[in-house]
C-alpha cells in the first residue's frame, strides 16, 4: 500500500510535467494532478505549480511522506499531449484504472510522435499565405508568403530549435523572412512587400504564451501570468528587431529611396 502511494504521486507528477511543458495553463495542471491524487485516495497532498517549476508534497500521521521538486523548461507547444492527458484524466475519473496502467498510458502520451517535418513546413507556408491574403495581399503576394513561410519553418526546425536561444532564434527568424520577402519582391514574385512580410512573420507570433498569460492573470496566478507575458513580449520585440534590422540595412544600401 505504501509503495502504491508513491506510484500514484509519481504518476501525478509525470502528468503535471507533460501538461506544463506542452503549454497547458497552470490551473489545468493543478486540477489534473489534484483529481488524480484524490481519486487514488491520498488526502494529505498539496502542490504548487509555476510556469517553469512544479512542487508537490504529501504526508501526515497516517500517510507516508513524499516530496518532489521539478524544473520544467518552456518548450514548443504540443496541444495534442494536453488533449490526451485531459482525456486520460476523464477516463481515470470514470473508470478508475489501476495505477500501473495509468503509468503505461502516460509513457505513451509522453512519446507521442510529432507531426512529420514536411507537414509542419507546409502548414507554416499555407498559414502564411492565407494570412497574407487576410492582410490584403493579392495572389502573387500569397505565393511569396507561402515560400517565405515554408523556408522560415525549415529554418526553425533544423537550425534555430537545435542551436539557438529563443531571442536570437526569433530575431534571426524574422530577419530571414524579411530578407526573403525583399529578394522575392525584387527578383521573383509579389507586388506588396509589406503584406508579404506581415503574412510570413505570423508563424513566429507567440499565440500560446499570450493566450495562456491572459488565462493565468484571469485565474489570479500573477507570477506565471507575468512570466508568460514577458515571454510573449520578448518574442514580439525580437520579431520587430529582426524586421527593423534588415530594413535599416536595406534602406542604407538603397539610399533611403526604396522603402
Amino acid at each position: 500500500m505504501k509503495e502504491n502511494e508513491r506510484e500514484v504521486l509519481n504518476a501525478a507528477v509525470m502528468a503535471g510535467r507533460i501538461l506544463l511543458e506542452s503549454g497547458a495553463e497552470i490551473f489545468r495542471v493543478e486540477d489534473t494532478m489534484g483529481r488524480m491524487i484524490k481519486k487514488y485516495g491520498i488526502e494529505s497532498s498539496s502542490s504548487v505549480v509555476f510556469s517553469n517549476a512544479l512542487f508537490i508534497t504529501s504526508g501526515n500521521e497516517k500517510e507516508k511522506y513524499f516530496a518532489k521538486v521539478m524544473h520544467i523548461p518552456i518548450s514548443a507547444s504540443r496541444l495534442d499531449k494536453v488533449a490526451a492527458i485531459n482525456q486520460l484524466s476523464r477516463e481515470i475519473e470514470a473508470n478508475g484504472y489501476p495505477i500501473s496502467e495509468v503509468k503505461e498510458k502516460l509513457y505513451e502520451i509522453q512519446n507521442m510522435p510529432q507531426k512529420p517535418e514536411i507537414f509542419r513546413i507546409l502548414a507554416s507556408g499555407i498559414g502564411s499565405g492565407c494570412f497574407c491574403y487576410l492582410f490584403a495581399g493579392n495572389l502573387a503576394d500569397c505565393l511569396a508568403a507561402f515560400l517565405a513561410g515554408c523556408i522560415l519553418y525549415a529554418y526553425i526546425i533544423f537550425i534555430s530549435n537545435r542551436y539557438l536561444s529563443k531571442m536570437v532564434a526569433n530575431i534571426t527568424g524574422s530577419a530571414l523572412v524579411t530578407l526573403l520577402a525583399l529578394l522575392l519582391y525584387h527578383f521573383f514574385v509579389g507586388d506588396h512587400l509589406n503584406q508579404m512580410v506581415i503574412g510570413s512573420i505570423i508563424p513566429l507570433l507567440p499565440g500560446v504564451s499570450f493566450t495562456n498569460s491572459i488565462r493565468e492573470f484571469a485565474e489570479g496566478d500573477y507570477i506565471s501570468g507575468s512570466v508568460r507575458l514577458l515571454d510573449a513580449l520578448l518574442v514580439i520585440f525580437s520579431i520587430a528587431i529582426g524586421v527593423g534590422l534588415v530594413f535599416s540595412i536595406y534602406n542604407r544600401l538603397t539610399g533611403g529611396g526604396m522603402l
Partner: protein, 144 residues
C-alpha cells in the same frame, strides 16, 4: 466574403497543426477562425478596429468553449488557433517599419494601436471565460 472565410479557415487550421493539435480538431479550429473572420469583416464596417476585435474575440471564445464541451477536449486547442487571425502582427510590423524610416510618430501610433488590439483580445477572453460552464452544457443530456 467567401474567399475571406476560406483563407481564415485554412490559415487557422494550418496553424493548429503547428501547435500540435490532433487531426480530428482541425475542422473546428478552421471553422472558428473562419466565422471569427466573417464577424470581424462585418463589424469593421461600422466599428473601429479595437471594438471589432473585442466583439470578434467574444464570438471566438464562446464558440471555442461551445465546441470544447461537445468534443470533450481542452478549450485551449480552439482558443489559441482561433484568435490568431486577430493578433496584431501587422501592427508590430508597421511599428518596426516606421521606426526604421525614422517616422517615430507613426511608429508609436502603430505600436499603441497594436497594444489596444491586444487589450481588446484580453478583455474578450477574460469575459467569456468568466461565464459559468452550465451555459455551454445546455442541450447535452449526459452532463445533467
Amino acid at each position: 466574403m467567401m474567399i475571406q472565410f476560406l483563407a481564415a479557415f485554412i490559415g487557422t487550421a494550418a496553424f493548429a497543426l503547428l501547435f500540435g493539435v490532433e487531426k480530428e480538431y482541425y475542422f473546428y479550429c478552421g471553422l472558428i477562425g473562419g466565422i471569427g473572420r466573417i464577424f470581424y469583416v462585418w463589424l469593421t464596417g461600422s466599428f473601429a478596429i479595437t471594438e471589432s476585435t473585442f466583439f470578434t474575440t467574444l464570438v471566438i471564445i464562446f464558440l471555442s468553449r461551445f465546441f470544447a464541451v461537445r468534443k470533450k477536449c481542452p478549450s485551449t486547442i480552439f482558443v489559441v488557433s482561433g484568435i490568431l487571425p486577430l493578433v496584431p502582427g501587422a501592427g508590430i510590423y508597421w511599428m518596426a517599419y516606421y521606426f526604421v524610416i525614422n517616422k517615430i510618430e507613426l511608429a508609436s501610433k502603430n505600436g499603441f494601436s497594436a497594444l489596444k488590439i491586444a487589450v481588446a483580445i484580453v478583455l474578450g477572453i477574460v469575459f467569456i471565460f468568466e461565464l459559468p460552464q452550465k451555459i455551454f452544457t445546455i442541450g447535452l443530456k449526459e452532463n445533467r
